[in-house]
Structures are given as C-alpha cells and as structure tokens.
C-alpha cells in the first residue's frame, strides 16, 4: 500500500472524523452557495425591510427573518463565508509564525531557545481575551497606517485575521520545537551536518518535510479555536462590522431580542458549534491517522 492509501484507510477507521469531514463539506457548500440561495429564494439579504421583521419559517424564508427583515438562511450562508475564511487564513498565518519560531528555537537551541519558549509560555499563560479586546480597538491611524486604509470598510476582516493569528501560534510553536529537538539528533541530520550542509538547507530540506503531519494536526485543531475567538470578538462588536454578516455578529443583537426571536440566537451559534466541533474531531482523527505510533482504535 502507498502512504496515501494507508493514510486514507487509517482515517476511515476514525468514523466520527469521517462524518465530521462530511458535515464540514456540506457547510462549505452552504457558504459557497450563498448567492445562489439568495437568487433561488428571490430575496436580498443585505436589504433592510422593516415590514417583514421576525417572520416565522416559511417557503420564502425557510428560517424566517431577522430584526431588520433580512432572510436568516441567506445571511447564515454569507456569515459562514466570513467565519470560515477567517478561520482558515488566520490558522495558516498562525501556523507559519508558530513553525518558524519552533524551528528556530528547536534547531539552534541555547539562549535563543530559552527566550523564544519563555515568550511562548507567557503568551499561553496570559488571559488572552482582554488583550484581544484591546488589540481590536486600537486606532490604526496612530500606528502610522494611512487613513484611507485604516477606515476601509473591509478593515475589520483583515484586522481580526491579524490579531487572532498573533495569539494563535503558540500551540504549533511548542509542537514543532519538540519534534525538531528529537529530529535533530537523528543520524541523517548529523550526517548532513558533518558533510557541511548549511543550517538553512538542513532545516528546509531535511527537517521541515518531516514535520508536515504534526503541523497539519496542530493547524486543524487551531482552526476551531480561531473561529471561536473570531465569533466572540464579532459578538462583542469588535470584529467583523455589520452589515457584513458573520456568525458572531449575528448574535450581537440576539441577546436583547431573546424574548421576541429566540431562533435568531439559536441558529448562528449552532453553526459555530458544529463547525468548531467538526474541526476538532477531524484534528483528532488526523492525529490518530498520521502518528505512526498510534494504535488501531
């Protein structure tokens, strides 16, 4: 059997992860089909219509309408685009930061290792949410970013990707450092060093490829966390700005409207929950499938 076949077979053994992968694909399709849904239902999900507020479930509005008369289902689909986009981009950026830090700390060791790992441990121990809140409200113009960019309408999206990745790299960094520490004592690395291969080349051609699986696992697991952070910040009104919907900011008004329209509070949160759960299970499944020592379940 090839490695890929072996991997697929092992992955299939983790049935929950397979089911979750299915659910996640459906969610992706749902998010991607937002404009099509909008067309099929013949509504405009960005248009405020005060005459159709809080409509119940119907054929025209399968999940009813929200406090501004917009179709809930279509807005959920658009919100999913934002949440998944932020989740993936920030997770990948965070993985890149974490991998670099882990590689440097693990390979070069010494005071550099101590400094980097102390920093990592401090970031993990910090109460992150208050810091994220501060980061979310800082004035970009005071950072020297020109006003035309700082006040751009999509800035909320980029800002949240940046700040969430700034705190999301710690898990990957520790994992990569641990793996590098054991890898660099292997004979093939020692041999490479003895032959005078420069450190840069050892890292990129001999160490990094061997780290693909742990990095994949850690990144998958961090997507869920990042989506949670994004939704919290957006919920508090500090992330994605309305009218752009995200699952988090769709819940912002829901707390006050919980008496009139409980469904508004239910669906966006349920989707966040399912998505994060799916990512966590897939990460768990990948871990079992990719780690060579894992026993058959």
């Amino acid at each position: 059997m090839t490695r890929t076949q072996l991997f697929i077979r092992r992955m299939m053994l983790h049935r929950v992860a397979v089911v979750c992968a299915g659910i996640l694909s459906l969610l992706f399709l749902f998010a991607l089909s937002a404009p099509i849904l909008e067309m099929l239902l013949n509504t405009d999900a960005s248009k405020v219509n005060l005459f159709s507020r809080y409509l119940p479930f119907s054929l025209q509005h399968p999940l009813g309408t929200d406090d501004l008369g917009r179709d809930l289902l279509v807005r959920l689909a658009y919100g999913g685009r934002v949440s998944l986009l932020v989740g993936f981009t920030a997770a990948i950026i965070a993985a890149a930061i974490g991998t670099s830090i882990g590689l440097i700390a693990g390979y070069f060791g010494g005071w550099l290792d101590t400094l980097l790992m102390r920093t990592t441990d401090s970031v993990i121990a910090l109460p992150l949410l208050p810091l994220l809140i501060v980061l979310a409200v800082i004035d970009l113009e005071k950072l020297g970013i020109p006003a035309s960019i700082a006040n751009h309408q999509d800035i909320g999206l980029y800002r949240i990707i940046v700040i969430v990745s700034l705190v999301g790299w710690t898990g990957v960094a520790r994992l990569v450092r641990g793996s590098v520490l054991s890898l660099r004592e292997r004979p093939y690395i020692t041999a490479a060093r003895a032959m005078g291969v420069p450190a840069k080349r050892i890292i990129f051609t001999h160490i990094l490829p061997a780290l693909t699986s742990p990095i994949t696992v850690a990144t998958t697991l961090s997507v869920g966390n990042i989506i949670l952070f994004e939704s919290i910040l957006s919920f508090l009104g500090l992330g994605i700005n309305p009218p752009t919907p995200s699952w988090g900011n769709m819940l912002t008004n829901a707390q006050e409207l919980i008496w009139e329209a409980p469904t508004l509070a239910f669906f966006p949160g349920m989707l966040i929950f399912i998505t994060v759960l799916a990512f966590n299970f897939i990460g768990d499944g990948l871990q079992d499938a990719l780690s060579p020592r894992s026993k058959k379940r």
């Binding site: 929950v16 441990d121 401090s122 993990i124 121990a125 910090l126 109460p127 992150l128 949410l129 208050p130 810091l131 809140i133 501060v134 980061l135 409200v137 800082i138 004035d139 005071k142 950072l143 869920g224 949670l228 939704s231 919290i232 919920f235 508090l236 819940l251 829901a254 707390q255 919980i258 008496w259 409980p262 509070a265 239910f266 966006p268 949160g269 349920m270 966040i272 929950f273 994060v276 759960l277 990512f279 966590n280 299970f281 768990d284 379940r297």
Partner: protein
C-alpha cells in the same frame, strides 16, 4: 515573575496609548465651552503633550509609589474599583473551577478504566462538545431555557437592591454552570489520558498482584500519580479559564474583572483598563506559582530546596 509584569505593563501601556482618542479629547467632547487653549493647557497638565514613552515612565514612577490614578468611569481610585471586582471574579472562578475539577476527575477516571468502550467514546464526545461550544452562545441558550422558557433562574447575575444570600447564590447558578461546562471537557480529557498512562505502569500491576481491590488501586495509587501532569496543564489553562470568565461576566452582567475591563476599554477608561489588565496577568501568574507549589504535596520527589540553580 516581576520581569513579566514589567514587560506586560510596558506592552499594555503602549497598546492602550494606541487606542482612539485620549482623556482630554473626551473632556472636550463633553464640554462645548472648552477652547483649544484650554485643551492645550489640560493636555500639558496631564502630560499628554509628551511622547508615549515618557508618559509611561511617569506612570511607572507614580505606580511604584502606589499611585495608580483614578478611574474615569467610576470616579474612584483605580485600586478601590479593582479589589471589589477581583473578589467577585475569584468567587465565580473558584466555584466553577472546583465544580469542573470535582466532576472531571471521576468522569476522566471512568473513561480511562473503560478505554475504547462505548462509555469512553460517549465521554469523549461530550468532552469535545464542551471544548467546542462557544461560551457566549451557551450562556444565551441557558438564559433562553432557564430564564425565558422555564423562568426558574434570573438572567442577570446581580440582583437589584438589597437581597439575601439565597438570591445572590441563585443568581450565580447560571454563570457558574456556563463557566464549568466550557472548561470541564478539557479537564476530563487531561485526566483521562494521564490516568490511562498511569494505569499501565508496573507499580499498578504490582498493586493488583498483591491483592488490592480495584478501587484501592485506582484511587490510592493511580489518582495521585496521574494528577501531576494534570496540574501542570490546568495551571497553563488558567489564562483561558479567565478568558472564559470574561465572557460569562459580560453575558450575565456580573460586575467582576472581566466585565469591568470590557467596560473600561469600551469607555476609554485608560487607568482602569491598564491596571485591570496587569492585575489579571498577575493573578494568572500567581496561580501558576501556586500550581508549582502544589507539586510538592503531590510528588514528594520534587523539592524546591535542592534545585538551587
């Protein structure tokens, strides 16, 4: 630890300096009679015309003498506002923490003893659910169920007016449940994996071999040894636990550190936000330190006296 606090105070000061507006801008917007000369004079008075770094040094000098400034929102010295909030947060966090640990230890042990059985899988599934659920949404759903539909519990964690102990406790039920539910999954998983490893050690086999009953083996020999890694991970998780408390406090309008920090940042109360952030960090670090000390009681081999590096 002191170094971390110094670094944090610098970082936080700089970050808060980057927040929109400054205290005098707020005064100007509140009082239309202020002229621009007044504003300049006020800025000079507060030292706001100086570069951020000099302002930090001034703040640090005052802070080292115990002067942390006044809170703008509460019109009281910052520390006075903070102590009450800290106390309320610690009450909330410690009850929730105790509850989740007390539930997680037996559950995790059960899963470890029945590893790879339906019991284990169900527990594992529930743990993942607990880790993945958005805490603010869980709070919303609990409010919906218990306050709106059933009407059993208040949605607001601070009952109005003078109330007895019973009402106060009743108002705390939902916040405590929310906070415990979101942290219990992680703890259970740590207990499970640590217990599983411990149960495969040689001395456990020996304990069985000398005829101890299963419960004696698991509770007396297994539990204590499996707790060391759990304590490590738990102490590292305290920051996340505090973040959870922030959400819960905001959702239930509970006037603890988290709610106060959020209000301070939103309401441009710089002094309060700064000292609040530092205090939260300090408390987390202290808790980590306590965890280090608790190793000694768990594992007599660890001693801090011999480790004089």
């Amino acid at each position: 630890m002191l170094t971390v606090i110094f670094v944090m105070s610098f970082v936080c000061y700089m970050l808060l300096g980057l927040m929109p507006g400054d205290p005098v801008d707020l005064l100007i917007s509140a009082d239309p009679n202020l002229t621009s000369e007044d504003a300049a004079r006020l800025k000079a008075l507060y030292g706001l015309d100086q570069p951020l770094f000099n302002r930090y040094l001034n703040w640090l000098a005052a802070a080292l003498q115990g002067d942390f400034g006044y809170s703008r929102l509460y019109a009281k010295p910052v520390l006075e506002v903070l102590w009450g909030a800290l106390e309320r947060t610690l009450v909330l966090m410690s009850i929730a923490f105790l509850l989740s640990v007390l539930l997680a230890i037996p559950t995790g042990m059960l899963a470890a003893r029945r590893i790879h059985t339906p019991t284990d899988y169900s527990i594992n599934f529930l743990c993942f659910a607990g880790i993945s659920i958005p805490s603010f949404w869980l709070a919303l759903m609990l409010i919906l169920l218990f306050s709106v539909i059933l009407g059993w519990l208040p949605a607001n964690a601070t009952p109005l007016g003078e109330v007895g102990f019973f009402q106060k406790a009743q108002a705390l039920i939902l916040p405590v449940i929310t906070l415990s539910l979101v942290s219990i999954g992680g703890v259970t998983r740590y207990v499970r994996s640590s217990m599983y490893e411990t149960l495969h050690q040689d001395y456990i086999t020996t304990a069985y071999a000398k005829g101890l009953s299963e419960s004696q083996v698991v509770w007396r020999h297994g539990l204590r040894n499996s707790m060391i890694p759990v304590v490590t991970i738990l102490s590292l998780d305290l920051g996340a636990f505090f973040s959870g408390a922030v959400i819960v406090e905001i959702m239930f309008a509970y006037p603890g550190m988290g709610k106060m920090l959020f209000d301070a940042i939103n309401g441009s109360d710089y002094n309060l936000a700064l000292v609040g952030l530092l205090l939260a960090t300090l408390v987390t670090l202290l808790a980590n330190f306590l965890a280090d000390i608790s190793y000694v009681s768990l594992d007599p081999r660890i001693s801090y006296q011999e480790q004089s590096k």
